[in-house]
Symmetry: C2
Subunit: 509 residues, 2 copies
């Protein structure tokens, strides 16, 4: 193993420079997890209000370095500084503040009190339950979201909100952004008075593997490819103590346009769909990778509009050389093995890892698994259908996804209802008359879905993402002094379920 420092490449030019960042040694990883373990014990004694303050301090810390962070990320990802990266940093800060609100509100604790009482099986003891943090969390961020799904992203925010220390693994595509994000968070945490070890970072693939294998790590949050996810899962399977792995892995995100919708607003759908599959150069986990469009003149116009926009589009940079190479390879396979027709061929730009959008077409009835491989980049497959039976035939070849989208008119609803009911079994989010890209960060958001979209029944976006890094515990007949304050009689600071009845915060008892 050499001590070569990590490279950083500008995808717009393909030019690589040295970062001066050395890969983290195994010994250093062990020191970081020991520090995280010590921080975990210290964090236990801080009240929720303290933790909410920490999250807000971290949000402020990110925003104070906005200009530097955005510029650093632009040079490492080729994503536009505005509105894309600037908006993403806003989102990271917003996310931290939303979790702060949720921590203060306290409903996430699921506080429950069953007073002692008679049961059909005899006297039942006093039982009090709530969720507690699980321990140090390893966070593996994504290439395509240097802020919102990386060091300063949702996994970090939700794990900290739940009360856990975090050790992030810097992404190889944006090591300098990772370091700058870490430093912004770390400096803010230190200034706020957080225990040393609350936030850590490791660099390099080997350090990431060492981190996942470390006995002190209690869970892994991951956003990335199915292939890398499987490698990390194998490391976990080799541990003495298994830990949860929350992976957001792969998604094709089918979108269906009814004939009535195509007739009523084909032009608007063409614009929206084009923007959705080419935004951020098509490198969004919720990109609609396949769109079911009816046959007929109105949808032909819709297709022609997409083709025309794709032909005129300028080349955009992909995130790194690996994604750049894979994009052409996968597109080629969709044509050769999946037998899709090229309506617009993606072309390489003059510089760096740039490409123009590609558009493929296929008959929905001809769809197989070979045409449903995820192509990470600005590519869409248009699947043409005669009736909803064809759509069902085509959907059978589509792996379960993060999202599915239906464009339909009021007059379609009765026809579309059975399909909508079936689609909910295949995805984590069902979108109507909109686009799956742009995942709102909110209380009710669910960004997940059945395998291979994710490997869990949890979300990585929205307030309930915290549940991944919590576990329940019950106290039986505990003296009041040994209970967390949220479970003491008379405490009214959080919603609680008391003897089966849900009570709002502020309610007596």
């Amino acid at each position: 193993m050499t001590n070569a420092t990590l490279p950083s490449t500008d995808p717009r030019s393909g030019v690589t420079r040295s970062t001066g960042i050395e890969p983290t040694s195994d010994a250093a990883v062990a020191e970081l997890t020991a520090a995280a373990d010590a921080a975990f014990a210290a964090l236990r004694d801080r009240p929720r209000s303290w933790r909410a303050g920490l999250l807000r301090a971290l949000a402020d810390g990110l925003e104070e370095r906005r200009a530097d962070l955005v510029a650093t990320a632009e040079a490492e990802t080729g994503l536009a500084a505005t509105p894309r990266l600037d908006g993403e940093l806003t989102r990271s800060a917003f996310q931290l503040r939303l979790f702060a609100d949720a921590v203060e509100e306290g409903g996430y604790l699921e506080a429950t009190i069953d007073h002692a009482g008679d049961t059909p099986m005899g006297p039942g003891p006093d039982i009090r339950r709530m969720l507690i943090p699980i321990g140090p969390v390893a966070v593996f961020g994504a290439s395509n979201f240097p802020f919102a799904f990386s060091v300063a992203g949702g996994d970090t925010a939700s794990a900290l909100a739940a009360g856990n220390p975090v050790i992030a693994k810097a992404h190889g595509s944006h090591p300098l952004t990772s370091r700058a994000s870490f430093e912004a968070l770390k400096d803010a945490a230190d200034a706020y008075g957080a225990p040393e070890g609350t936030i850590g970072i490791v660099y390099g693939q080997r350090a990431g593997a060492t981190l996942v294998a470390d006995p002190r790590v209690s869970a892994v949050g991951f956003t990335g490819s199915l292939a890398t996810g499987k490698i990390l899962l194998e490391i976990i399977e080799g541990r003495d103590r298994p830990i949860p792995f929350y992976g957001e892995l792969s998604s094709l995100n089918p979108l269906i346009v009814t004939a009535a919708a195509a007739a009523a607003r084909g032009g608007a759908i063409a614009d929206g769909l084009f923007t959705s599959f080419t935004a951020s150069a098509g490198q969004l986990c919720t990109k609609p990778g396949i769109a079911f469009l009816p046959r007929g003149a109105e949808a032909d116009d819709l297709v022609a509009a997409i083709v025309s926009r794709a032909e005129e589009a300028a080349a955009q940079p992909l995130l790194n050389s690996r994604i750049h190479e894979a994009f052409d390879e996968i597109t080629g396979r969709l044509v050769s093995d999946g037998r899709a027709r090229r309506l617009v061929s993606s072309r390489h730009g003059d510089d760096g890892f740039t490409v123009t959008p590609g558009v493929l077409e296929i008959d929905a009835r001809d769809m197989t698994g070979s045409v449903t491989e995820e192509a990470f980049g600005p590519l869409i497959v248009l699947a043409r259908y005669d009736d909803l039976g064809d759509v069902r035939t085509g959907l059978a070849a589509v792996p379960d996804s993060l999202t599915a989208t239906i464009h339909a008119e009021e007059s379609d609803l009765a026809d579309i209802a059975p399909l909508a009911a079936d689609l909910r079994e295949l995805v984590g989010r069902l979108v109507f008359n909109g686009y799956p890209t742009g995942v709102r960060v909110s209380w009710g958001q669910h960004h997940g879905g059945p395998w291979p979209a994710t490997n869990s029944a949890h979300t990585s976006v929205g307030v309930t993402a915290m549940r991944r890094f919590l576990r329940p515990i019950a106290w039986q007949s505990a003296p009041e002094a040994l209970l967390p304050e949220e479970l003491r009689d008379g405490y009214a600071g959080v919603p609680r379920r008391v003897d089966g009845e849900l009570r709002l915060a502020g309610s007596p008892r």
Copy 2:
């Protein structure tokens, strides 16, 4: 593979008879999972009130056959008909009815509505989230709870309550009880009008493995040994689509008695502890396997009382020959490798698989992993300590458990608080001045714990056990007609979180 029928053995006598039950063929397993899959689609359209009615009908169905079920289980498990098995059947029925209440109440849905509105990242679409059932669930019951953790047990009840079909795997130790339980449930389900395939059963080890590998199965609930759990986990790792495995596996359940508690009520603790580790012949997952007792005259009296009761105790049958053989082997290892001293040697009775209780003693400071192997049966290790530092030394050798118990006096609380805080990281339930056996079925119960107690952050007892068999989904900008009624504007039948604010059922909007 032979078609020999499954044997049933009376552990009280060791006499084996043929049951006439043939192992389920692979083809028959596939038919059952196909039926379960069809039932899943049909169940989706039934409202919660229908499902609550089904659960109550199942409870009634069990109780109508109480006498036959209890007698069948007595002959296959050697557990006492009353109060043990009779009480366990009551518990199974109570559990079904408690889940019916929870399904009607609807809080488990976690219904959440975020109306469309402005956000710092621009306009946010309408997002509505709730939990939905995951699909057919395979349930592997336990040898030691023929009702409450088997075919008619908590996994079945919680999976059905969540809206999923269930296929149970009959336990090899009680095939006739499994069949009788299945028939009671199936007949009640049919009479209620449940879809064919709502409840199924398979017999034989091979059929169990085939079931777990079946692509239509969406989750596995398991209560049993760590070894069998690992075999099932390996099958799951070989699936194309991974599924959650909820295993309750192994637990030592340390119990700590302070010097003050021993002085104040040593006699009562001796009685309670003896009953707790010998009840059901010590074959309870929450049996206190190790008790930390202080040195000194008062605790010596406590030990002497336990020894005296153990010496006088009659032999009780263990559940099967494998457990009977393992009990002696493990006890031997605790003495030879773990260097515990025998205070009372367990003896075989004259008939069947009977044994008398055993009591071992060790210095808490000498504890190693070799003395903390779980001995399934009436055995306890008494670990003597001088101070709480010794207890911590000893606890370091104890694997994480379902429970830990502290017996302390009011005057001890300040001393014991740090230990109680540390113990919560090692267990799923913390018991004070009581005994871990006897798990109350209630809203707040948590029966789980870190590995190797379980492999999940979920419970197998109590209302929240349903969460294992649910997954979230979000609807974005959905037409009201395509939303579940619980997520429509104006519905007030369940608690909901609306725009971040928790609202009780009955609240407007």
